[in-house]
């Protein structure tokens, strides 16, 4: 009865996994047997995605040894959720056991680092799930920016070719070139200084449309981006997503949805942008119209 357990914690990097079998797997599944059914909103709270540690994904990879458990389910904050499953675990402290020195997490690669991270993340995740305020989505669901790209960080954050060779300009324009694209280079009109006055016309040469009066409102066609400058040092771009929030990709690093204060970005004009102190303008990227390199 082999069992695969995935520690669901990362966004860009692959999650750590461990496979166990025999008595160890049997003991683990005993602890995970369904107890009392979850009541009221408990099931939805357990299944709601959160940032950071999200629980353990348990997969019975062979013939399921415990019939009451589906082949794949999530164990989080003492609860179990999966197909036909919304119950408390027989051992509600299962995760604490799993991450202890006696637990199967000892077999995970780089376990010391993971434990240090989990020490902070586990109580935070449990507390967060208790406090989650569930909001019913309005009906019909209103898309704030229907034409804007989805926030799909995992697509860019591959710790390889896509991530390292595409920068903020690639991400904002949703255009992968693998060349660390520079405003104006494709049009033979690259910027000559790191100022709004120089980078803005270079982006216009790439067919981005300057919309200084956009005032953080989504365009009817295309999606909104914002140009900011660290004077004489560098430029940076943000893009507005389908949910109305802004995201960005600082150079060759991972895509993120937070600013330098760790806050979600509702308006790049007021976000903590570190050294990128000059807000230049909003611009519109019309899909299929632009050319960058």
């Amino acid at each position: 009865m082999p069992v695969k357990i995935t520690i669901d914690i990362f966004s860009g990097r692959p999650n750590p996994e461990v496979e166990i079998s025999g008595k160890e797997a049997q003991d683990m599944l005993e602890r995970l047997k369904p107890g009392a059914p979850l009541a009221g909103e408990e099931a939805e709270r357990a299944a709601t995605p959160i940032l950071g540690y999200r629980g353990l994904i348990v997969e019975q990879t062979g013939t399921p040894a415990v019939k009451e458990l589906p082949a794949r389910f999530r164990a989080t904050a003492g609860s179990l959720v999966g197909r036909g499953l919304a119950h408390k675990a027989a051992d509600p402290d299962f995760e604490q056991f799993f991450f202890s020195t006696k637990g199967a997490s000892s077999k995970v690669k780089e376990v010391t680092k993971i434990r240090a991270l989990i020490k902070e993340e586990l109580p935070r995740a449990i507390d967060l799930r208790k406090k989650l305020v569930l909001q019913l989505p309005p009906f019909p669901i209103k898309l704030l920016c229907a034409c804007a790209p989805l926030y799909e960080p995992a697509w860019w954050n591959d710790s390889g070719q896509k991530q390292f060779n595409n920068n903020c300009y690639n991400y904002a324009s949703n255009y992968r070139t693998d060349t660390f694209a520079q405003p104006g280079r494709a049009a033979g009109a690259m910027y000559t200084a790191l100022t709004c006055a120089s980078v803005l016309p270079a982006a216009v040469a790439d067919a981005l449309e300057d919309t200084p009066g956009a005032n953080n409102k989504c365009p009817a066609e295309g999606h909104l981006v914002a140009l900011v400058i660290a004077p004489n040092i560098d430029f940076h771009w943000f893009r507005k997503g389908r949910n109305g929030l802004w995201t960005h990709k600082p150079g060759g690093t991972a895509v993120t949805n937070v600013d330098n204060s760790g806050h979600l970005i509702t308006d790049p004009r007021t976000a903590n942008r570190g050294m990128y102190t000059d807000f230049c303008t909003f611009m519109v990227v019309k899909h299929g119209h632009i050319k960058i390199n």
Partner: protein, 121 residues
């Protein structure tokens, strides 16, 4: 016939600073002697179990050293992380000696001095 060439090829080290978003980050080549000296400096640091402090997305995010055999040393604030194929190890550097030595090895003017002053002063 060239008889002066060493039988053992020198390692090539690349150093750099992770700081820009739009422009490529500044990077420079180090000779074997400087790279090895930095590597020895790392070896003098104490092991750390603490995870490295995450850098903010925009601005200075640390300095790196890489060799041509897949080893990378990444220094940010008081932790230096060495990553080699199939393993990684963190060491404490409370005085930021490794990070400063790495940044100081940059050719003059390559890294905007104002940025470094803000970070290290």
């Amino acid at each position: 016939m060239d008889t002066s060439r060493s039988t053992k090829e020198d390692r090539i080290f690349t150093a750099g600073v992770s700081v820009f978003s739009g422009r490529p980050d500044p990077a420079w080549t180090l000779d074997e002697e400087t790279g090895s000296r930095l590597q020895q400096l790392f070896e003098t640091l104490e092991s750390s179990e603490e995870p490295a402090t995450p850098a903010p997305p925009l601005g200075y995010r640390g300095a790196f050293l890489r060799d041509d055999s897949g080893h990378e040393w990444l220094a940010y604030r008081s932790v230096v992380t060495h990553t080699a194929p199939n393993r990684s190890e963190a060491r404490r550097d409370p005085g930021r000696k490794f990070e400063r030595a790495l940044v100081d090895s940059a050719p003059q003017g390559l890294v905007p001095p104002g940025l470094l002053a803000q970070e290290f002063d």
